[in-house]
Symmetry: C2
DNA sequence: CAGTATCTTGACGTGTACGTCACCTAATGG
DNA sequence: CCATTAGGTGACGTACACGTCAAGATACTG
């Protein structure tokens, strides 16, 4: 039971590192996505590596337009009791759905990129004089 | 100048096709992302294939968490006057930035998927009894 | 001709994700 | 000792993306 010598972050540390405000981090906690320890006397929030990892996942989810509710589900998905086999089986099942979602997003993004490149190529051709601006 | 015989959609057509509400479509117009024709007498909005294509792009952007402002910028990016060479050069330049953004998103999503698969594999191993639930 | 459906323009309401401010509590530095 | 800094808890404000009426015009339908 050696619980010492862990890296500890203050709320300002994490806010600075990820370019967000402490308010946002507290909000994620309000919504149940983070549960940092508190210093017994001052009630200060103390984040460890695992909290930091969770925050990283939250922010990644946010960047891709996920709501906090779904992100919370995902976080809990990979936090199941590895002793409860039935829970794990369900986690795998739900997880597969999300993996499929991510796959679909990757496909859509690649399609998007291809379309942007097509525009780019067309513009380049026009600039090179091989085509004019007429429809 | 043959401008007839075009496919025309009503607002309800598009709403049904894309699984959104007419209100959302009107909102995109309010924000300047769509400018459908109007029937001269009834003021009814009439969408053509190009409007439909724009709407498709809007919804794709939304799914990836982009705000309407940035989506509008992107739409205008590929709508430059192909006669104005300087405009096109700037369009290519801005476009490249967005392509890089999309690339970065693809990378992040692939990383995300890999992490999810790692969890999945770990769960499978535990279920197979090769590992127990202890830390 | 009355009813239902589909569109229009306001106008106000709502959920999410925070921003901002007031006020309070420690710890630190000159 | 007093000011600054860093953190805490409400509580209210705000931007965005719509949802949800209300009221009116028009068109098809039995
Ligand atoms: Zn999902
Ligand atoms: Zn961008
Ligand atoms: Zn001192
Ligand atoms: Zn009839």
């Amino acid at each position: 039971m050696d619980a010492s010598k862990q890296t500890i972050y203050t709320i300002a540390d994490l806010a600075a590192e990820f370019g967000i405000t402490p308010r946002a981090i507290r909000y994620y906690e309000e919504m149940g996505l983070l549960t940092p320890q508190r210093s017994q006397e001052t009630q200060q929030r103390l984040y460890d590596r695992s909290d930091r990892a969770r925050l990283k996942l939250i922010l990644r989810g946010r960047r891709f337009g996920f709501g906090l509710k779904e992100i919370k589900e995902l976080l809990n998905l990979y936090r199941v009791d590895t002793g409860e086999k039935e829970q794990m089986r369900r986690a795998i099942e739900y997880g597969d759905k999300h993996i499929a979602e991510v796959d679909e997003m990757i496909r859509e993004l690649q399609e998007t990129k291809e379309e942007m490149l097509e525009f780019r190529r067309r513009f380049e051709r026009i600039l090179a004089g091989e085509e004019d601006g007429a429809k």
